[in-house]
Amino acid sequence: MAQIRIESLRKSFDQFTAVEGSTFTIDDGTFFAMLGPSGCGKTTTLRMIAGLELPTEGRILLDGEDVTFHRAAARDIAFVFQLFALYPHMNVGENIGFPLKCQGMARREIRERVQETARMLRIEHLLSSKTSKLSGGDRQRVALGRAMVRRPKAFLMDEPLGALDAEFRHLMCGELRDLHDRIKATTVYVTHDQLEAMSMADQIAIMNKGRVEQIGTPQQVYDRPASMFVADFIGSPPMNFLRFEGGLRSGDRAVSFHDTRLAVPEIREDRANAPLALGVRPEHIRFVDAGAVRGEVFGAEYLGTTQIVTVDTAYGRVAARLPSSASVRIGETIGLEFNAARLALFDIGSGLAIKTAGEEGARHG
């Protein structure tokens, strides 16, 4: 197993820059998710780690060894594709054994390793079936088997659950995580689905327009987003942004939000007057009669245990997550109260979070 280090990696196609100078380290044994909207460069980054794409600039180190321009086959990594890429002219056993065959391993040894891998994935009974006869989940298991059988330094997965239906995806999420816990292989997992990333990963890198916006644990990226993009991308519904203008002083515990003062976590930097945004997660909003920010209830979305209530305020539409027991009437005017300890502040100009006591622990990418 291995540590993967990416150093100022850049990739451009003609005019278009797909990946722009990201630097990060994936520690040995980490389940590392790369999350972002389509076209953000996450798949290109993964393909460069795999050696299927060559970087324009930068270095890739596997366990300290520079593999930037090594052939894919020389890197000792395994790749799991979204479309599984099972060879249709081979049966399940042959598919799993294929990487070993490529290495010229003895037939008997291949058979043993294939058996062992199949046992691990509980697909022994399928070994002689045709891949076209398999269900989506089984195909994915076979694809995983083909990746595992070689015992590579790292697994790279490109939206491996993207082609499965929602029910199976949930099941496979659990299986993948369980598998990772058993074999402890460094795994780089690319997805655009925040639920997959949040539920499985140890570390998440959130990418946008070729740049890594933030790297952190699921809690860190959710609770302490480093930028407005991350705050908006993670969470459903996303974080609310309430715009205001003001200056900040280090040590302050409140900001002037339009004509009121709002308590925030202790500010750790000085700022001249600038357009700012107050970031608040829907679940950190309460309805109180005396709330400083007032608005009119626009609609409510019932979700079982909670409901999402949208409120039109003077500063934009705000979504709040309330217990479903709370009774809300549409058109009613209510006051909003925010959980001060969980508020975030952003500089609208740069889109980056402003350092506060609550923001500590988050890293800028």
């Binding site: 795999a50 050696g51 299927l52 052939r71 395994a78 594709f81 890429a85 990487p99 490529c102 083909r146």
Partner: protein, 320 residues
């Protein structure tokens, strides 16, 4: 669910009505008759005597004879009955057959070497065109080639006029290069004509094969060429077979270049067959025999590959 299923059959999308089926079968049979009848007529003519072959009204029932085939494979001289009577008794059935018509076999005809030429040139150029076409199509499909679209257009543009339009320059070129009337020259020529078709057809097929297959193979330890051979080609076999048939049909049937560029050594069957007519008056049975034999390899090749051909033609229209 059940209700929906019944309704969908009622709309005849799934199952054709008996009348529609009968109509469709009728059309297929009619088409088969139209295409197969001339072929059967040729096969039958090859077994007719010369007078039966030109009889009017045409004879459907006749006494079969192998004269046509014997005439095709031999060169004969006409002799007086006295001379034939003096000869030792005929050794073989074909000697006997020929002597009945006051002729003696003088030696084998050129049909066998011509047929061999056709086989070598037809299959040789097909192999080369498909081989080069596959490699080029793979490159166009997978790599970022500068000016790829223009190159593809140039390749296609070679087919925008009939190949014979450039016959005279090619003839002059071949004369300079000493390629006229050589098998190599004909193989190169047919390959050049076919390769554009092969590149375009195969590019379509290879585009349909997801890249992930070979990328998986690359990660798993194959080189690019190994991945192409072991992973891409087995999946492209359908397209390769379809392309090979198209290429073979062209080079097998090609007449104009063959007439112009070959006369002896490298002559193929198409220019040779009409030559038979002139040799011994109007020997239609011999011509029919030659035509029958000429059709056999291509029929065999097509039948052998028909499974792929059918799938190849519908490929892409119906996925999986």
């Amino acid at each position: 669910m059940t209700a929906a299923a019944t309704r969908s059959t009622a709309h005849s999308i799934v199952e054709a009505s008996p009348r529609a089926k009968a109509f469709a079968s009728g059309l297929v049979i009619l088409y088969a008759v139209i295409t197969i009848l001339p072929l059967l007529w040729i096969v039958a003519t090859a077994f007719k005597s010369q007078s039966d072959a030109i009889a009017y009204p045409p004879k459907v029932i006749f006494e079969p004879t192998l004269e046509g085939y014997v005439n095709l494979f031999t060169v004969r001289t006409r002799q007086t009955p006295d001379f034939i009577a003096k000869l030792p008794p005929p050794e073989t059935w074909y000697d006997q057959l020929v002597r009945k018509r006051d002729m003696v076999i003088a030696g084998p005809s050129k049909v066998v070497p011509r047929f061999v030429n056709s086989l070598i040139i037809g299959f040789g150029s097909t192999f080369l065109a498909v081989f080069l076409g596959t490699l080029a199509a793979y490159a166009f499909s997978r790599f970022r080639i500068p000016l790829a679209d223009d190159l593809l257009f140039f390749i296609l543009s070679t087919r925008m006029m009939p190949p014979v339009a450039v016959a005279i320059p090619i003839y002059l070129m071949y004369r300079q290069l000493n390629l006229t009337d050589t098998r190599l020259g004909m193989i190169l020529l047919y390959t050049a004509v076919n390769v554009s078709l092969a590149v375009w057809l195969l590019k379509g097929f290879i585009d349909e094969i997801p890249r992930e297959y070979e990328e998986a193979a690359l990660v798993d330890g194959y080189t690019r060429l190994q991945a192409l051979r072991k992973v891409v080609l087995p999946q492209a076999v359908t397209g390769i077979a379809a392309t090979a048939i198209f290429c073979l049909i062209f080079s097998w049937n090609e007449y104009a270049f063959a007439v112009l560029l070959t006369s002896g050594e490298a002559q193929t069957m198409p220019p040779f067959i009409p030559f038979i007519i002139g040799e011994g008056g109007q020997d239609w049975p011999a011509v029919a025999a030659a035509t029958t034999l000429f059709v056999v390899p291509i029929v065999m090749f097509t039948v052998l590959l028909r499974k792929h051909l059918l799938r190849g033609i519908t490929f892409g229209a119906v996925r999986k």
